[in-house]
């Protein structure tokens, strides 16, 4: 049996009268690539923040990497990685400085940082640019570097919040290859995206509408169920039922 690294049951978050996340239940297995889809304002970000231990739920249960989201948020933060398109690396630090900084946050030892950092740079083909400021890297490289840094401490789960915005189709695919490799090593990948074709790269996807999970299955399963050949179509059908706008 595969172990579940994310388990949520009836997880709910209310802001005043507004129920941002409405009793969602899901489980994500170790090494799985899980696509977390939803229109703007469907509650994705709120749910993700609860999983990351940044936000206390209002009701329900959830365990992430074996820790409780109510009581063990610090332990959760230590065992996950996080990357978003908006914030990931410091532009005015060099590649190595960024690596050292993040490694420092997760308490990696000096030797460990050097060894893993070097290996990582080599894999990325960035060894020559180790001293370059992150600002000077092309966006695609920045994203791949950001992802590598996010999993430098070998977390059990990595959360990716719209990681591939604004890059070309080749770079996007390079990025996904990295995701596959990470998943292959047993890292669970929990990813949100607006690119529907990327949804198809996931093992399973959930589609959130108005705070609830309206669909959860493999991409193929969803397409079969809705009798269509694209996830985009499934998404549009479900998301159009949405009544609320942010």
């Amino acid at each position: 049996m595969t172990e579940d690294v994310i388990q949520a049951e009836g997880l709910t978050r209310r802001f005043g009268d507004f129920t941002a996340v409405d009793a969602i239940s899901l489980s994500v297995a170790r090494g799985e690539i899980f696509g977390f889809l939803g229109a703007n304002g469907a509650g994705k970000t709120t749910a993700m923040r609860m999983f990351c231990g940044l936000l206390k739920p209002s009701a329900g249960k959830a365990r992430v990497a074996g820790y409780d989201v109510w009581t063990e948020t610090e332990a959760i933060k230590r065992s996950i990685g996080y990357m978003s398109q908006r914030f990931s690396l410091y532009d005015d630090l060099s590649v190595v400085e960024n690596i050292r900084f993040y490694a420092g946050i997760y308490g990696l030892g000096r030797a460990e940082v050097r060894e893993r950092g070097d290996r990582m740079l080599e894999e990325l083909g960035l060894t020559a640019e180790r001293k370059a400021l992150v600002r000077s890297l092309p966006p695609g490289w920045k994203q791949r570097l950001a992802f590598s840094v996010a999993i430098l401490h070998e977390p059990g789960i990595v959360f990716l919040d719209e990681p591939t915005g604004g890059v070309d189709p080749i770079t996007r695919r390079e990025f996904w290859k990295m995701i596959y490799r990470a998943a292959d090593r047993g890292i669970t990948v929990f990813v949100t995206t607006h690119y529907m074709d990327e949804a198809e790269y996931c093992d399973r996807v959930s589609i959130m509408v108005d705070g609830r999970i309206e669909a959860l299955d493999t991409p193929a399963g969803l397409k079969r169920e809705h009798d269509t050949d694209s996830i985009n179509e499934v998404f549009l059908r479900l998301a159009r039922q949405a009544r609320r706008t942010e």
């Binding site: 304002g41 604004g166 890059v167 189709p169 695919r173 290859k177 998943a183 607006h194 694209s230 998301a239």
Partner: protein, 300 residues
Amino acid sequence: MDAITIRDVSKAYAAGKARTEALRGVSLDVADGELFGLIGPDGAGKTSLFRILTTLLLPDAGHASVNGLDVVKDYRRLRTQLGYMPGRFSLYTDLTVEENLAFFASIFDTDMRENLHLVQDIYTQIEPFRRFRAGNLSGGMKQKLALCCALIHRPRTLFLDEPTTGVDAVSRKEFWEMLKRLKAQGLTIVVSTPYMDEASLCDRVALIQQGRILRVDTPEGVRRGYGRRVMAVKGPGMLRTLERLEGVDGVVDAYPFGERVHAVVAVDPDRIVWPEELEAVEVTPDIEDCFISLMKESHD
């Protein structure tokens, strides 16, 4: 008649010692009433080109004209004819929907009420929120309001810089439907996007990368001009499938595409010996396949 002509336009920025060439000799024509797409990743030069066409930047070399007016010499007259929606929704978040519209109408010396019928179609969708502050609107609503603001002075040419970035699939679809209707009214529209799937919704597209135009054609033309055959391959997981396709004779490229892997083949697919567990079916190349191959060629 061409609404927009661009000839050998170059633009570079100096940041300290580093010099970034944003545009390297771009030439392009957009016909009157066309819905033209500028497709390319961040940093390809899309925004620079938009800013030159909207008189916000001066080209270092070359010249460009919009509606027969030079973007440098006739910028003052040209500015009355342009509608422009910059990358970030340029709205006043502390002003209500109505106030934003009234303001943008006034800076173009027109009256909001007089011209509201021009944007009626889009405005009705945001009208229920007209007393809401723009900052409290959802991404899709903001995008519609920004479009209304860009249209309120009845521009002849509309420039939309990545209007759908960061907007969910539903709003994106609605937005493109709106563009279709605007085009039907005779407006020339130039729109940039990083989303390849939006390319097929344009009359013609230009693929831009690293400041160069790689290809200008209709989406159909781009697909037809693609010289290779594409196989959709299914196998035991994405990574394994990709690994197994490496070094297969006749396969020149392989990359994930939806739930399958697209393998670009240079020979007759029947002559290829597919590794075990792989199942290959020929598919019509998608516009994204074409772009991937164009981009790889330009890299080499």
